[in-house]
């Protein structure tokens, strides 16, 4: 009984504190969605109305005068391909750096890590020139190929796989598995939570990417939603309503994909895969 009581005292503050922070964190998003359904008059009402009254779709009508669905599709397409390729190459390289011994390993890893700290603006101009010479300019190739140099994905998965017990690999070798089999059948299954984390991070990063698409894409039909939204923003500077509708639409596919993938986060680590 006393134990139960002290347990409750321990837990209640946790629920309250986390609850407060959730409200703070979600307010901007809820305000965005609410504002997107407000008509011109209720948007500018003083004091502000928390909920749209009357409920209006006029912001979305204004928004869809632009090819926003195509922009959303472009973003989904590019971010999905990049996520798959990044998780694939990072897990291979991360595993190699974490668990395999080969000459020059530490030097090669440090070279990667060093450049991870280099801000993207350093290579912005020369990379643009390279992409132009490769003929990738104003094409999805410009967005899809450079991320294969998945430096931080490699770093993240190296850190993650390092915490997995080496006995798993040794037992695989004793059983006569090839290195690729050890990687795909022993390491990948237990590294799943790490892969899911990397996958979602990558998807978010490339969905969020604004500066690079801005530099390499010119044709409106190849715009990502970010570019499209910024074009919209600079066309109607103070039209908060349509702006919030566009922002809502840009956030929606991400919310859906996150909800579909979050299961992998919740599975947690299976570090205890080797038990006796």
């Amino acid at each position: 009984m006393q134990n139960k009581l002290s347990n409750i005292f321990k837990k209640v503050p946790a629920y309250i504190l986390v609850g407060i922070w959730i409200v703070i964190a979600l307010t901007p998003l809820l305000w965005m969605v609410s504002s997107s359904f407000k008509g011109e008059a209720s948007l500018m009402a003083t004091p502000p109305k928390l909920l749209p009254d009357p409920f209006s779709l006029e912001n979305y009508q204004k928004l869809f005068e632009k090819p926003v669905l195509l922009w959303v599709f472009n973003s989904v397409f590019v971010a999905t391909i990049v996520t798959i390729e990044v998780v694939a190459v990072s897990s291979l390289a991360g595993y190699a750096f974490a668990k395999l011994r080969f000459p020059g390993r530490n030097l090669l890893f440090w070279l990667l890590i060093m450049t991870m700290m280099i801000p993207g603006q350093v290579t912005l101009a020369p990379l643009y020139e390279l992409i132009m010479r490769l003929g990738f300019l104003d094409s999805f190739k410009a967005l899809i190929f450079p991320p294969i140099a998945a430096v931080w994905g490699t770093f993240l998965l190296k850190q993650f796989i390092q915490t997995l017990p080496t006995e798993l690999i040794d037992s695989g070798r004793v059983d006569g598995a090839s290195e690729l089999q050890i990687f795909s059948r022993i390491i990948l299954p237990v590294a799943k939570p790490g892969l899911a984390v990397l996958g979602i991070f990558t998807f978010v990063a490339h969905w969020n990417d604004f500066m690079w698409p801005l530099v390499v894409l010119k044709d409106q039909s190849r715009y990502t939603i970010q570019l499209g939204l910024s074009a919209f923003r600079f066309q109607y500077t103070t039209a908060y309503g349509p702006m919030m509708a566009g922002a809502t639409l840009a956030a929606l596919p991400m919310v859906i994909i996150f909800l579909l993938l979050q299961r992998y986060f919740m599975e947690g680590l299976t570090v205890g895969a080797i038990k006796g």
Binding site: K10, P13, A14, V18, W21, I22, A25, L26, P28, L29, W31, S35, M44, T46, P47, P48, V89, L92, A93, L100, R101, F102, L108, L112, T115, M117, I118, P119, Q121, T123, A125, P126, L127, L130, F145, I148, A149, A150, V151, Q159, E179, F183, V197, W207, N208, F210, M211, Q226, L229, R233, M243, M244, G246, A247, A250, F258, Q262, F265, M266, L269
Partner: protein, 296 residues
């Protein structure tokens, strides 16, 4: 026999190691190392209408004499000095608190905290642009309720940078929280049980077990936060255009401006390389400071 087996495994590991890192490394050489070398050359070169060629450190001298450079550096440092500790400790505390909850509440909390991060920097900047609106903005309405005068958040030199900071701190910090929770799940439960048997309270457990064993994750979060906050760009670009005056001009905003407004590639690349040098130095110091392998 035993020695031969060891040797063949050693060779296998070498071959597999190189093959496994090959995709990342080839792309890394093409899209990272090569442009990096070109950038360094570019920073020592001038491409003008009347002169093209090697100019030594002249671009760097130009940067240091630029009236907009030092204010941008100052703004970036002030911004990072608040945002980085927030990005380390807020999600750590959230993660430690969330782990006390029931599983369903844990899942719910993680999802809620991550949701704002699912939205892009551009989206969040547009939303906060609207929240900071001096006439119909949500923030002025909320502070009005507790009797504070309305502010021209983004339009006032005194509050503009604070507004960018506030937006970054009052985030969900979901990705870092989830990383911490994932890492905390890797700490053996037996350690916590021993601590409980010895009568340790929640704070002592966090301080003496969770925090030290989470060092690799903390190191990762620390480095990524510094790199991120030193490169803050989108809010400054979308909400304030670096203004008013130079009040929210950050280093990367200035670099972007020099590249695409003034097309001074040499100075802009020199600025980016100075930033890179600072970030690398700080990160290396942290690595030496924090990098100890944790085994459990």
């Amino acid at each position: 026999m035993h020695l031969m087996l060891k040797k063949s495994i050693h060779n296998r590991e070498t071959v597999a190691g190189y093959l496994f890192i090959a995709p990342v490394y080839l792309a890394f050489i093409l899209f990272m190392l090569y442009p990096l070398v070109k950038a360094i050359i570019m920073s020592f070169t001038m491409v003008g209408t009347d002169y093209v060629g090697w100019v030594g450190f002249q671009n760097y001298v130009t940067v240091f004499k630029d009236y907009a450079w030092w204010p941008s550096v100052k703004n970036t440092i002030i911004y990072s000095a608040v945002v980085v500790p927030g990005a380390i400790f807020i999600p750590f505390i959230l993660a430690a608190l969330i782990r006390v909850m029931k599983p369903a509440a844990q899942t719910f909390s993680k999802s809620c905290l991550y949701l704002p991060q699912v939205s892009s920097g551009l989206v969040m900047s547009l939303v906060w642009f609207w929240i900071y609106d001096p006439f119909n903005g949500l923030l002025n309405y909320l502070i009005g309720k507790v009797g504070i005068q309305p502010q021209i958040w983004l339009g006032d030199v005194k509050t503009a940078l604070l507004s960018l900071i506030l937006m970054a701190v009052l985030a969900g910090h979901g990705s870092n929280t989830i990383l911490y929770i994932a890492a905390m799940g890797g700490i053996p439960k037996t350690l916590y049980e021993v601590a409980r048997l010895e009568g340790a309270n929640w704070w002592q457990t966090v301080r003496n077990i969770t925090w030290p064993l989470l060092r690799p994750t903390v190191l990762y979060v620390l480095i990524m936060s510094i790199i991120g906050s030193f490169q803050v760009f989108t809010p400054a670009y979308v909400m304030t255009r670096g203004g008013p005056g130079l009040a929210t001009s950050t280093v990367v905003y200035k670099i972007f401006n020099d590249l695409f407004t003034y097309f001074s590639f040499g100075t802009a690349t020199a600025e980016a390389l100075i930033l890179a040098l600072v970030i690398i130095t700080i990160s290396l110091i942290q690595f030496r400071f924090f990098a100890t392998d944790v085994e459990y």
